[in-house]
Symmetry: D2
Subunit: 304 residues, 4 copies
């Protein structure tokens, strides 16, 4: 049985999670096939530490994405892997006091060597110092990320790949990460002046210029909200699929059903959207696997 | 990409939900391949209303299962579908006051006609009255279900299929269902005397006779607990995979990790077990799809 | 600030969990105050092991309850505590292999000595053998529980207290517990014949005889469903409050909002009901504490 | 029964959610009593729209807090309420297409008039234009917020109250909010240059200067992470209590147990911390109510 066939059978149930996976495959297939879509992928949660770097890179290579909006953490770990450093299979059942003594930090059941962050810091400092001082003033987060991406040699780095493929990387909460701390630390002694408004402008412009907007949302957080917010001036996005493990009842945006976004003009009234409640590391490969049975590649219209 | 290949890539992440799906595919493949396993499938939650009847039937046909332990509700809806009646795609966003006025009952986003239950009741009464009175005394739940299963004509009925394939159907909480209400109602005026101890004996005997025990657990509840409890006299089951959307923190068994069962001698110390946190309607087809790429069929050893 | 004042402030928010707690206090207060209510408390999850035995006993003493519908596990642990045995503060972070070697079983972060269950078994056998053989035939679960409750000496036992206060104890899934295993084991060699239909009759009769029905639901499972099902012939209960940590999206009854029950005629169209999403060990003492600021005692109308 | 007594009884269970509430009351009481603590309150989720503005203001008035780290959304809604505009009791069961046509936006079951955001925008523009141009260059988010807070007349505004009480307001993701959009919009035509590094410096300095650090975490997100991250150079905070409804299994920080933070040097090895899994609108008033029975007021040591 192909993944496409599985998705069709799941859609045929029409109900519960299975039905939603089936619908999500339809919506993402449309987004990835139709050239009139400007597509955003938003990433929260430890998707890069969990090994989803190659999958994201593949989506970039196939021309499916126009922008990635991510937490700083996923970029931090992308750079770490680009240095040849690794994430390890760990366990939830561990004494964190002992773990740090042995030199490891933990994300759920993923371990990472604390020394990786020192290597990261040195690399980031080196890269930053290579940027001409004039270019380090009034710079957008996304431009700085693009400059770093160009200096990364690892072909599998999302930051590198996105840069050379002209896929924008936005990270509105970048400073709230270890990579962000490195930037801050550098800025204490060297010239580095970030303009936090620039990326709002860039995202709003991308949204305003788009014929249609599609969003694939992994896990909520600022990446979800900021992407939807950027489209508010055009009355919302046209297609959206979110995978979240959070709940709606407490009112946080990460667990809120997408329908709520209609009342904020963040999703168009006539838009299609699907809420998948589950673990993105389970649901994403299933959805993308089925989409790839239908859509292989997309020639993006690069207006810029 | 095949489902097997997808499962292997998910396993290669080793972490979070993806890693667990990969491990679950390995464990279920072993259970379904190895003839020395006596396999239990436990079902809670509306899997039959959600359209998983054919999948369960397929598992029976392929010889993978030795017993099914289920809520009475799933049997209720199996009989309803065997009468040519249907479950409908509904919606979570509905006014239940209006829904019942229009003659529908609701399970999440699944609708079912209230009249189905009257049809069910008539059929069950008819079937019961065909059973010789002598056989209606001191009867085990599973024996009664087997007699009903034999009378069902629909080849796709789980109850029917399990009966003719000699797969036991246990339903310890059977009376807590609409099918159970029909039995109770019949017993008010006709002879019907159930012995609730008999199935405990049968389940314990199956467990004691088994060389190895494998359990695939969908959704917790009495089906999960009763199956694990029945193996306590042999120091627990050997393999277990559970798919649950419940949480561990409040202490209910449905959300408890399987490791906890080791401390109750319900899983053997050397046993393998995997907790998958997610929606069974998403995770089960993914797991079974990958397992079927590896294991096609099993000749069960029918000792009885 | 009194608990009543706190509940009123929470209700004044009108929204999210706080608003629901406030409404729950109102509904439970009405149920506990108004003599025309027949009140059911349903218990799933380890409430007795978690130390809620005295609170339940207090509700019995104050005349608030007419019936308790519980898992067998909570009765198992009630009897264990009545033998002077204890539940211990444990931890989620423990190796269950080592734990059982040290003689402990685990419920979430609660530990219990495995030897307790042997003591339980001996006591149950002793109690059962004291019941005249004639009374051990065709007996309802609730009648058997009542006989055991009468033999328990511990004044704090729920089973004892309920029996002497004429509060019915129903446990439809009783055999799916360690106490149930003791009954089953006894029945292998001695006379003990349970009639599982009798309690359905008793619960339906209680429902039909009730002027109004109120249900306080802790944690779902068979206790929730069976209680609501028993009222289906009178078009549902009048008041219901549920505290659950499960989710609605996967369709299991334990996480389903009470509104769904209207479409099954398990809650009356004009009924009042409140869904509280949270941990019952947190929400219950808060709700009951506030209710007790308003209602101290109720003279039950004992018709029987 | 007092709230303090309730919390003590809950703690006496030692287990599950009740035990954790009891411990949380102890830890927060210590944080609020001991003058050597520098206390951070972090807020994610719609706590201000849900009506918790007065409670937060009360915590400021009593001297318990040294800094609040919040999403931009809570500040947005604080300013909206300070304009005399309101949040309304809504419903989860609503057609968002119709809702927005009637001029309302929705946060879970909370409604807010869309016109409120126009009023907000006008006010913010007016306030911003009152700030001397020289002060609008290279300004920290927190300094800008402080200037706005000073201009707000409503005594109940958190932003106002924090400013006059010298409690820092940090909002690292400020631009990802409607208030943030107003700032961005203003900056398109007027002088406004934000320095995003400044607040990292301020937070790190607060952490380094603190004798002890206590954190009360509502709901995760950037506020949680940024506060813990800021203390990494001093090997972590000393006390932390988090209330979250998210799950740990998918690896997102919002659902991660605090123990994990030890492996990141964000909580000290000898630190005390408590994870409360539940709805903050339920658990927070319960915890704070009990704390106030023990601690009435604190004289903060204002070093600055």
């Amino acid at each position: 049985m192909t993944l496409d066939a599985l998705a069709r059978e799941m859609k045929a149930t029409h109900v519960l999670g299975a039905g939603r996976i089936g619908e999500a495959v339809d919506v993402v297939s449309e987004m990835f096939h139709d050239r009139s879509f400007t597509n955003f992928l938003t990433i929260a949660g430890p998707m890069v530490p969990a090994g989803f770097r190659l999958l994201f890179g593949d989506l970039i290579d196939r021309g499916f994405l126009d922008a990635i909006v991510t937490t700083g953490a996923n970029l931090t770990h992308d750079v770490i892997e680009s240095l040849g450093l690794h994430h390890y299979q760990g366990s939830f059942q561990v004494d964190d006091r002992k773990l740090i003594q042995r030199g490891y930090s933990r994300i759920a059941d993923i371990f990472v060597k604390e020394s990786s962050f020192e290597r990261l810091d040195k690399t980031v400092r080196k890269f930053l110092s290579r940027i001409p001082i004039a270019d380090r003033r009034n710079i957008a987060f996304s431009e700085l990320l693009s400059k770093l991406g160009r200096m990364i040699k690892d072909q599998d780095s999302i930051l590198h790949k996105a840069t050379i493929r002209n896929v924008k990387i936005f990270s509105p909460g970048l400073l709230d990460s270890i990579l962000g701390l490195s930037l801050w630390s550098f800025a204490q002694t060297e010239t580095l002046q970030l303009n936090p408004f620039s990326d709002v402008t860039k995202m709003v412009n991308m949204a305003m210029d788009a014929e249609k907007i599609g969003v694939l949302i992994l896990g909520g957080g600022i990446p979800k909200h900021h992407t939807l917010l950027a489209s508010v001036l055009r009355e919302g996005v046209d297609r959206a699929v979110q995978i979240t493990a959070d709940r709606p009842e407490q009112g946080g945006l990460s667990g809120a059903p997408l329908a709520e976004s209609i009342s904020w003009r963040k999703i168009r009234k006539g838009g299609k959207f699907v809420d998948v409640y589950g673990d993105a590391t389970i649901c994403l490969p299933l959805i993308i696997g089925a989409v790839l049975d239908r859509v292989k590649k997309r020639d993006r219209r690069l207006v810029e």
